[in-house]
Amino acid sequence: MTFDVSPSLTLVLLAAVLVGVGVYLMLERSLSRIVIGLVIASNGINVLFLIAGGRAGDPPLNDGDHSTMADPLPQAMVLTAIVITLGMTAFLLAMAYRSWQLNGHDEVQDDLEDRRVVRRAARDLLSRRAADDSGATLAEDARVTRDETATDGAAR
């Protein structure tokens, strides 16, 4: 088996390019672009595995000498990764379709609750129930707090 792992610059560059392009697309808001980005980026990482496996060689079949054979383990890993990516791609596409079906586009919107908090932060205000404080003084509170004693069963 070829244990020469000195990398092929071509592959390194290819991996870099693919990852770069993939990332660029994944930073988009359009889901279908994100999917494409995912596919490209994973291709890039598969190339990384080829690099990790070392120099190109003969197919890892058990006939003839093993000296020129390519490292089979990364291949198996890549195969697993490819198939998993297929599944994920299918799912993302379904999400893209669904999102289009619901919103007429496949773009990822921002989270509304977060936006609400941002607005709240802008105007330092807190919901009445959250604050739960009318600002009454001790004496005022004391006047209203009566226990449910025998004298008045339903103290409120």
């Binding site: 870099a16 890892p60 596409l93 025998a150 004298t151």
Partner: protein
């Protein structure tokens, strides 16, 4: 002592049921529970006051030093009496106090008893962590009790305030305990800590004073001392029995107890002196001052309590033996008179209907017994002889004078003047006759309700007239402090203390006389920001800063989140690679010249895909780069990868097209903004980082990979020549099993997103087909059909018919919109389909030795399905496999996992492979590895995946299209608008 706690716990659990059956009389029964604690303490008096107090250790969590160890020394004995005695008296009182119709009495009773239990734990445990445990429990229970009337905002606010403030202190205390426990010679046993601290062997250096301060913060917050005092008056929102027990006799004493407990060890430290005396005396003055201003009787008492808690902390923490004795006496007498006074206020409130001393008048005549009780208690509070309060205060003056601690003595005197003043103001306000106010009528009276306060007040008298025994029980703990012994006596002889006392009386009386002036004076004083409003403001500040921080960290934008992740990766990992990494010795330009070409092709197509604004174009370009990848693999010596990649790419391409046909042609228009350049930069950075990292990583390789074993091993044990396949179905079959379950889930997920209208999804069976042929026209875009007339004449010439079959080459063909049909395509499909299926089977079985295997096979079969679908439409698909995709997926996984389990039954390892030699006629000998069964599972499952995805993204989307063509409402019901 544990059994007492258990008793309390059980009683608490049973209380609701008890109240449910007996009504408020249940309190009479429950009163027995705290009483047992007191009785138990009394039965152990002798031992408790001896040098070897009864102790008990229940190991719980040795690993954390948290054991339920208890120790009933003199101090604990006294506190137990207070906790148990006052507790049961207050419970008796409650039986008469509450209305029989009062809401949630059961809950009240339960929490009250539980609190009594927790309090008992606080005063008897000998383990700091256990102390904290019970301490926090009292906090929680008081939270629930203060919030008893939770419909009232006042109650809710007071409760939250109390729990926040006391927990703040509690946590500080916990930190202090941990520090004390982990430091050199430290311990989690209180007695050991105090011992070692007193001996001065406790290590920790600078940590020690900090730890002491932290522990004291706990004490101060619990006993409502400055600057935490404000929670106590607010806590008066609780029912009066709670105020009497928790906020006068028991819980607020916990802080005092803590100071008294640790005093012998730590009172020598400067930090202790400053905190205890400073805040203690300060609180005493402030409390007294504020008490003079209140009109609500409970509030008068509340601020009075604050004041006297301050005094008690200062006394028991003062650090000298005589003063400590006085302090302890103060603790006892305060418990007696203050609880009694609160209960009295309760009676007034209960009977007259108000607590406002401006509305009360002439009650002394209306309720003489109560008035006398109150008089006794008040007298004890303001220190009139011959009551407990007097004895204690005298002893304090005596001791301070003896120590020559004039400053403290002076403050104590001033505080006493205030106490005297507000004490009189309280009694006369409640029972005196007020000019211009109608005589208040006492509407109710009851023997039971007066019992408890009377007993408490009389106890105060008894203790006062018998100072001897009183001293004997308090002395043992006081003696653990350094200094000369002090004494409790009614007559300390002529001397400075007596003079001070008389002075206090005179001034106090005078101050009471001119109370209106005092009040006006107080109004005149510019009101400094009260701690309460400070608390309010800090809460508001907390809420605001929380919102601000969250607004920054939580933008809710996906691209931003990804950017952050990538920045971390590039910055940290990429940075490390660039800074610390070393390049490999040798770097090849390429493995062979072709690699460059292929790589260039892949790179360019990908970039173009990123640039294109047309969805379809982008997809096709990605497909191209994908096939390029396949080329790269095969050239790299990875035929299986290449094969799989081709199939996967094909299917991916089809999926894309199926979905994107419905989406807009163009990506939404994004002008070339800076945001886009940012993304480019991010991409470039990530790419470079990954490249750099890969170079560095490869350069780091020292050893030959594990795969060196694989070639021989796979053949000898994997019984296959194709190493990669053996790895997939045998060596690393566990991975594959996981991988196919991923596929299964993904497929079902796709279905679940598409088949919302019809949950389970329906197969386009022949039955619906017959219907569809007449009505629906699959893929009909409704445009006029130009070639119809032609087809009329030349449709289906006889020689085109499939022998023995119906009129059509493809069963589903007739359902297509006429102009979507292509006879050639249908025939082609018909011919190619079976051969593709055969090929897929071949790949499956040959896989073990040749490139191929379950995945490749399944994918090929899947592609055959795709062709069939494209040619014949969705009804054709249904006709091809009249099965639910779920069945295929499920069966596939079931087969694979069974193949994994069977070897276990045969005594092998999970997923272990056996091989069978058998002779097939004609074919000859064949080796069949059981791994094949696993691979069959994979095959079936992958086929299921394709079928499922076709049904969803293909057929179902068609259907949606048609529905939209006909009517929209059916689609709408699939759109569930979120609530």
């Amino acid at each position: 002592m544990v059994h007492l706690l258990i008793l309390h716990a059980l009683a608490a659990l049973l209380a609701p049921a008890l109240v449910g059956t007996m009504g408020r009389r249940a309190f009479l029964v429950l009163a027995a529970v705290p009483a047992t604690a007191a009785a138990w303490a009394i039965s152990h008096t002798g031992a408790a006051l001896s040098d070897t107090p009864p102790a008990q250790v229940v190991p719980w969590i040795g690993g954390l030093g948290l054991n339920l160890s208890f120790r009933l020394d003199a101090l604990s004995w006294v506190m137990t009496l207070i906790v148990g005695g006052v507790g049961s008296l207050v419970l008796l009182y409650s039986a008469a106090y509450f209305s029989a119709r009062a809401t949630a009495l059961g809950r009240f009773a339960a929490v009250f008893v539980a609190f009594a239990g927790a309090m008992l734990g606080v005063v008897t445990t000998d383990n700091t962590l256990a102390l904290y445990l019970f301490w926090e429990l009292t906090t929680i229970f008081s939270y629930l009790l203060i919030g008893h009337y939770h419909e009232r905002q006042a109650s809710r606010r007071a409760a939250s305030q109390a729990i926040m403030v006391t927990t703040l202190g509690g946590l500080a205390m916990l930190a202090g305990f941990v520090a004390l426990g982990e430091m050199e010679y430290g311990s989690y046993s209180i007695s050991l800590l105090v011992e070692r601290a007193a001996a001065g062997v406790l290590g920790g250096g600078t940590l020690l004073p900090v730890a002491i301060a932290l522990v004291l913060v706990g004490a101060l917050s619990k006993s409502a001392l400055l600057p935490f005092h404000f929670w106590l008056p607010a806590a008066m929102a609780a029912p009066t029995p709670v105020s009497a027990y928790l906020h006068a006799a028991a819980m607020v004493k916990a802080g005092v107890y803590l100071v008294a407990r640790f005093g012998p060890g730590f009172s020598g430290h400067g930090i202790w002196q400053w905190l205890v005396l400073g805040f203690g005396l300060g609180t005493m003055l402030l409390g007294g001052y504020r008490a003079l201003r209140q009109h609500d009787l409970k509030l008068v008492l509340a601020f009075g309590t604050v004041s006297q808690l301050g005094m008690m902390v200062a006394m028991v923490g003062h650090g000298s033996r005589a003063v400590a004795l006085a302090g302890l006496a103060m603790v006892v007498s305060h418990a007696l008179f203050k609880a009694s006074l609160f209960l009295v206020v309760g009676i007034v409130d209960w009977s007259v209907g108000t607590r406002d001393l401006r509305e009360l008048s002439g009650l002394a005549r209306a309720m003489p017994v109560v008035a006398t009780t109150a008089a006794l208690a008040t007298a004890s509070m303001i220190g009139l002889p011959p009551l407990a309060g007097y004895v204690a205060k005298e002893a304090a003056l005596e001791g301070l004078a003896h120590e020559g601690d004039w400053l403290v003595l002076a403050v104590l005197a001033v505080g006493s003047v205030l106490t005297f003043a507000y004490g009189l103001r309280f009694w006369f306000g409640a029972f005196g006759t007020r000019a211009g106010v109608a005589q208040s009528v006492a509407r109710y009276s009851s023997g039971l309700i007066v019992l408890s306060p009377a007993v408490l007040a009389l106890a105060g008298l008894a203790v006062g007239v018998l100072p001897g025994p009183f001293e004997r029980v308090l002395a043992p703990h006081a003696d653990t402090f350094p200094g000369d012994a002090g004494h409790l006596t009614l007559w300390g002889g002529l001397g400075l203390p007596l003079a001070v006392t008389l002075g206090v009386f005179v001034l106090g009386l005078a101050m009471f006389r001119v109370r209106d002036v005092v009040e006006r004076l107080q109004d005149g004083v510019v009101s400094v920001p009260s701690a309460d409003s400070l608390y309010r403001r800090s809460l508001r500040a907390l809420e605001n800063s929380a919102a601000d921080v969250t607004a920054i960290t939580q933008r809710g934008s996906l691209p931003l989140y990804l950017t952050i992740i990538l920045m971390v990766m590039v910055g940290a990992a990429g940075g490390a690679a660039v800074v610390e990494g070393t390049l490999p010795e040798a770097i090849r330009g390429a493995d062979w010249w072709g690699q460059v070409v292929i790589a260039a092709f892949i790179g360019v197509t990908s970039i173009l895909a990123a640039r294109s604004r047309r969805r379809l174009k982008a997809v096709l370009l990605v497909g191209a780069s994908g096939y390029g990848m396949a080329l790269l693999f095969s050239a790299h010596g990875a035929p299986d990868l290449a094969l799989t990649q081709v199939m996967v790419e094909t299917i991916t391409l089809v999926l894309f097209v199926l979905v994107l046909r419905r989406l807009p042609t163009y990506f939404s228009n994004r002008p070339l903004t800076g945001d886009r350049f940012l993304r480019m930069a991010m991409g470039a950075a990530s790419g470079l980082a990954v490249g750099a990292m890969s170079l560095v990583a490869v350069g780091g390789r020292r050893r030959i990979p594990v795969s060196e074993y694989l070639p021989e091993a796979t053949y000898d044990y994997g019984y296959g020549r194709n190493i990669v396949n053996v790895i997939l179905v045998d060596t690393r079959a566990w991975d594959t099993m996981g991988e196919i379950s991923v596929i299964l889930v993904a497929a079902t997920g796709v279905a679940s997103l598409l088949f919302l209208r019809d949950r389970a999804g329906i197969v386009d069976s022949a039955r619906n087909r017959a219907h569809a042929e007449t009505t629906t026209r699959v893929w009909d875009d409704g445009s006029p059909d130009l070639t119809a007339s032609l087809r009329e004449t030349t449709s289906q010439p006889g020689w085109l018919r499939a022998p023995g079959r119906g009129r059509h080459w493809l069963a589903g063909g007739a359902t297509l919109a006429p102009r979507r049909r292509s006879v050639i395509f249908e025939i082609g499909t018909r011919l190619v389909f079976h051969s593709m299926v055969l090929l897929s089977l071949y790949l499956l079985f040959a896989g073990h030795n040749q490139p191929g295997g379950g995945f490749a096979g399944g994918l090929v079969a899947g592609t055959a399905l795709i062709v069939r679908y494209l040619a014949g439409g969705r009804y054709e698909l249904g006709a091809t496999i009249p099965l639910h995709a779920g069945h295929l997926l499920g069966t596939g996984l079931a087969i694979a996992t069974t193949a994994a389990l069977v070897p276990l039954l045969l005594g092998g390892q999970v997923l272990q492979t056996a091989v069978f030699e058998l002779t097939v006629p004609v074919w000859g000998d064949v080796k069949i590895a059981t791994a094949l069964i696993f691979d069959i599972g994979v095959y079936v499952l992958v086929l299921g995946l394709v079928l499922d995805v076709l049904r969803s993204l293909g057929a179902e989307i068609d259907r949606h299209g048609e529905i939209e063509g006909m009517s929209d409402d059916e689609v709408d019901d699939s759109v569930e608008v979120a609530p």
